[in-house]
């Protein structure tokens, strides 16, 4: 088991009602972590999500280590 911190922004923050949470998980990859969290939060369909691990863009197959920070990034709309 490792502890992963997740931060939520925008539509995901509003949907979950959380700015962040920490979970203990056996997920090996970001993909598995998303599936686990989706089971709990029933995320809305937001189009192509990106993901960041420890404040850098990552990919869905990235491995997870204890203490990692993960952010799921809905399509952006700056400017």
């Amino acid at each position: 088991m490792k502890t992963i911190r997740i931060e939520y922004f925008a539509a995901l923050r509003e949907h979950t009602g959380l700015s962040s949470e920490e979970i203990a998980t056996d997920a090996q990859t970001v993909d598995q972590l998303y599936a686990e969290l989706d089971g709990r939060h029933e995320f809305p369909a937001l189009g192509q999500l990106k993901v960041a691990v420890n404040d850098e863009f990552g990919d869905w197959q990235s491995g997870l280590a204890d203490g990692d920070l993960v952010v799921f990034i809905p399509p952006v709309a700056g400017g």
């Binding site: 931060e7 922004f9 925008a10 539509a11 923050r13 509003e14 949907h15 993909d31 998303y34 599936a35 989706d38 029933e42 995320f43 809305p44 369909a45 937001l46 189009g47 192509q48 999500l49 990106k50 960041a52 404040d55 850098e56 863009f57 990919d59 869905w60 197959q61 952010v71 990034i73 809905p74 399509p75 952006v76 709309a77 700056g78 400017g79």
Partner: protein
């Protein structure tokens, strides 16, 4: 000082011009994004911007660095607003100075295009009819779906 910055509320370019002024530069091009009163047929009343700031600043600085490398410019800065904005407020500002104007136009355009596509910033529009929504959020109203996003099921 970082070449990409977030500020609370409307951007004031004059606060950020210091790093662009240069007596070797003859040209300055800027882009300002203003909160407008309509989008996609909706009457907009106000906006809210939210960002993943740590990654946003990194990605914004990368975009500025790319512009400095690709174009013959001397200085470039981008500032993006966060929080509540009213109609007419400045949501984003890009300023570029260079010896010649060609490069400044090209770089300014490059920066705003990339910022809009790559920097993790989200915009919530509040409409005059009382409705609101996150822009680019396909199904925020119907949050009941269990199907994962395409990129996840594909990955």
């Amino acid at each position: 000082m970082s070449t990409f910055r977030f500020v609370r509320g409307s951007v004031s370019p004059t606060d950020h011009l210091g790093s662009l002024r240069d007596q070797a530069c003859g040209g300055y091009v800027s882009f300002e994004g203003w909160v407008r009163n309509h989008n996609d047929g909706h009457q907009v009343q106000r906006l809210e911007y939210e960002a993943y700031e740590n990654l946003g600043v990194k990605e914004g600085e990368r975009i500025i660095d790319e512009a400095l490398e690709r174009f013959q410019i001397e200085h470039a800065v981008c500032v993006h607003a966060l929080g509540d904005l009213a109609l007419g407020d400045m949501a984003v500002w890009v300023g570029v100075s260079s010896h010649h104007r060609d490069a400044a136009f090209g770089a300014c355009r490059y920066i705003i295009d990339e910022v809009k596509h790559r920097v993790p910033i989200w915009k919530k529009e509040h409409y005059t009819d009382g409705d609101s929504g996150w822009v680019n959020c396909e199904a925020c109203a119907s949050a009941a779906t269990r199907s994962p996003p395409a990129s996840v099921s594909g990955g």
